[in-house]
């Protein structure tokens, strides 16, 4: 999966897809003429198995455009707003403003944008906001100038404000159009003919690239971003063939040809720290590879940095399938890098869902290439994200431990599982959001939250949350399970129930129901209702409600649990009070 080269190719690629995905309306507010951008986004989303139906408006300034939506009584289901200011349009406004006001131009624009967002925030909208393409006004040659009124300075102020606002406003993400345009070059991103004649802010054949990255960013909040990067070793993570050159012979280090690989390692480490999992898939001798990671004097990545490793001579497609299985991920969450076209082709053919970038032949071009692909949009930062790799390491330890026990119950006992229970709070909100997007298998209703939705629900009294942290003697799983129940009089209804796949077969679901039942009974609730909503991935919980003692009500697949009669099942999880 990569951006297509021309608008025409994108049109043809999309018309060949018969999309069955439901259309999701999104709003585009643009200072350029948005028709082509809207088409490109719709088509690009179809290439990824989604179907955005953009409803685009063209306005003189995006703040005015947004406020116009408010007056027009914006349809409430359009929660996602893509905002695309135009640097050309801003420069027109800049020159049209009185000279003495130009010093404050950037502050004013950023302020207008902020106020418009604040007005719409109450409608539960979230914004993907493009920053500004690079623009040289030519008024000072290439000297930026010390004048406070220089346009470059004003753009800088707008960018700075936008980033600060994104840190403060939960419903704002900033799309780095500036970097993307700088990378591609103005000659290819902007076509003055169609700016003057049709107010097109972008060259037609730049739109597939722009839409590719915009759609990736829009999908990020839906948990669709890749989660693991599988790496080859020889001539990918170091120069040369380990088995031939030996540990001293491979190119890796801070000098000469090794520095290319050293820098790649550093970048991969930073990616891992962001929560992206790393894995190894190499045709090699495992003992030699382990030794190389241990003994090499300048190897930033360590063996334990990899959440899964497959060092053998099996086809890479099979290894990647088994890595995905081990990490409980779909193949579409996998990116694979390898210097050899033969291996890439084998994986592409046998695992078409895997993202396989065309790594450049020359090693020095690869890091820049991977950076520009923007494959790992990650908006949400949470502590758990960074700890995720460590979890997989502990999981390996647990698997080894399990092998020592013949009886599964004995193994569970040996884990000494302890859980804490809490309600939705600012402290756990980011993780709840993230888990709602990442959890596929144990997900009864597959309702993916939005950040502003959770902020709103946190305040609602007719709601009961059961949020569970689990730890055992090997380590801390963190926040792994969530039930949201809506309360209406004496009845409660399960509106969401999902759990991390890391804690399957630990009786956590039984524990959760026990806790929820106790919590609801103490509020005087006598009935708990639930329904299973099937997806292609949640077969696992098809029988969850009847297995836990719910009875069919005969209506629309609804299940009911009589809380007056409910007797908790015993589990091997003990509840801790808050730490």
């Amino acid at each position: 999966m990569k951006p297509l080269d021309t608008f025409q190719e994108l049109q043809e690629a999309a018309s060949a897809i018969s999309s069955s995905a439901p259309v999701e309306r999104i709003r585009i507010v643009s200072e350029g003429s948005p028709q082509f951008l809207a088409k490109a986004i719709a088509w690009e989303s179809m290439r990824r198995g989604f179907h955005f139906g953009p409803d685009a408006i063209h306005c003189e300034d995006v703040a005015g455009g947004l406020l116009g939506l408010l007056e027009a009584g914006e349809r409430s289901e359009m929660k996602t707003v893509l905002v695309v200011p135009s640097v050309e349009r801003l420069f027109e406004r800049f020159l049209a403003s009185p000279e003495e006001e130009r010093e404050d131009f950037g502050q004013q624009v950023a302020g207008q944008w902020r106020r418009a967002r604040a007005q719409l925030a109450a409608r539960g909208m979230s914004f993907l906001w493009c920053n500004l393409a690079p623009y040289s006004d030519g008024l000072r040659g290439y000297l930026v100038g010390s004048g406070k009124a220089s346009f470059s300075r004003q753009i800088g102020l707008i960018h700075q404000q936008l980033i600060e606002d994104a840190g403060a406003e939960v419903n704002l993400q900033v799309f780095d159009l500036a970097s993307l345009c700088a990378e591609v070059g103005r000659g290819r991103t902007f076509d003055p003919r169609f700016w003057y004649q049709g107010r097109l802010a972008f060259a037609l054949d730049f739109l597939p690239t722009l839409a590719f990255h915009l759609v990736a960013s829009l999908l990020e909040s839906r948990g669709a971003a890749p989660k693991v990067l599988v790496c080859d070793l020889d001539d990918t993570l170091w120069g040369g063939v380990l088995a031939e050159e030996g540990i001293e012979g491979i190119a890796l280090g801070q000098e000469d040809s090794g520095s290319v690989y050293f820098q790649l390692h550093q970048w991969l480490k930073a990616l891992r720290a962001r929560g992206v999992l790393l894995a190894l898939c190499s045709k090699n001798e495992e003992s030699l590879v382990r030794e190389a990671f241990r003994m090499h004097p300048a190897c930033p990545l360590k063996w334990d940095d990899f959440a899964a490793t497959r060092i053998n001579w099996e086809p890479k497609s099979e290894n990647i399938r088994s890595i995905a299985q081990e990490l409980n991920l779909g193949l579409d969450a996998v990116v694979f890098i390898d210097d050899r076209e033969f291996e890439r082709e084998e994986v592409r053919r046998r695992c078409p869902e895997v993202i396989v970038p065309d790594l450049p032949e020359a090693p020095e071009l690869r890091l820049g290439y991977l950076q520009r692909l923007g494959l790992f949009p990650q908006a949400v930062e949470s502590e758990t994200d960074r700890l995720r790799s460590a979890h997989f390491l502990r999981e390996k330890t647990r698997q080894e431990l399990q092998a020592e026990f013949e009886d599964y119950t004995d193994y569970l006992k040996s884990l000494e599982m302890k859980a804490t229970v809490e309600t939705l709070s600012p402290r756990n909100l980011e993780r709840v959001l993230q888990l709602s997007h990442r959890s596929n298998q144990f997900n009864l209703l597959t309702h993916r939250y939005r950040r502003e939705e959770l902020h709103r629900k946190m305040e609602e009294a007719d709601r009961s949350w059961l949020i569970v942290h689990l730890k055992d003697r090997i380590g801390d799983y963190g926040l792994i399970g969530v039930i949201e129940a809506g309360v209406d009089g004496e009845e409660a209804r399960i509106e969401n129930w999902f759990m991390s796949c890391r804690v399957l077969q630990r009786q956590v679901e039984v524990f959760m129901l026990n806790q929820l039942a106790g919590q609801l009974r103490s509020r005087g609730i006598i009935r708990l209702m639930g329904v299973y909503s099937p997806t292609s991935k949640n077969q696992l919980v098809r029988q969850l409600l009847p297995d836990l003692g719910f009875s069919p009500t005969g209506a629309d697949g609804n299940w009911m649990l009589d809380l007056k009669e409910f007797r908790p099942q015993v589990t091997l999880i003990s509840r801790l009070s808050h730490e």
Binding site: Q8, E12, F36, Q197, G198, L204
Partner: protein, 82 residues
């Protein structure tokens, strides 16, 4: 110069692909009004696709001053030989 009525198959092909009308036929007197879907937006798409196909570039005024397909054919021919 081309003959009075025919339009080169390469040009027709570009129109067919952009407008997604595989059976579209053009002649030199065809105007935008004669072809469904040939509006100001798809005109931009056609221009960009023609530029790509023939390795040429139109100026702003050339794009707007095209009364019919014949004028377009002549312009492309002139640009290619120039």
């Amino acid at each position: 110069m081309s003959d009075a009525t025919s339009v080169s198959p390469e040009i027709t092909e570009v129109f067919r692909r952009v407008l997604q009308q595989p059976d579209l036929e053009l002649n030199r007197t065809t105007t935008a009004d004669d072809v469904s879907g040939w509006d100001s937006l798809s005109h931009i798409q056609i221009v960009v696709a023609l530029e790509k196909a023939f390795g040429i570039r139109f100026s702003s005024s050339e794009i707007t001053d095209l009364p019919d397909v014949g004028a377009l054919c002549d312009l492309i021919e002139a640009k290619q030989s120039g």
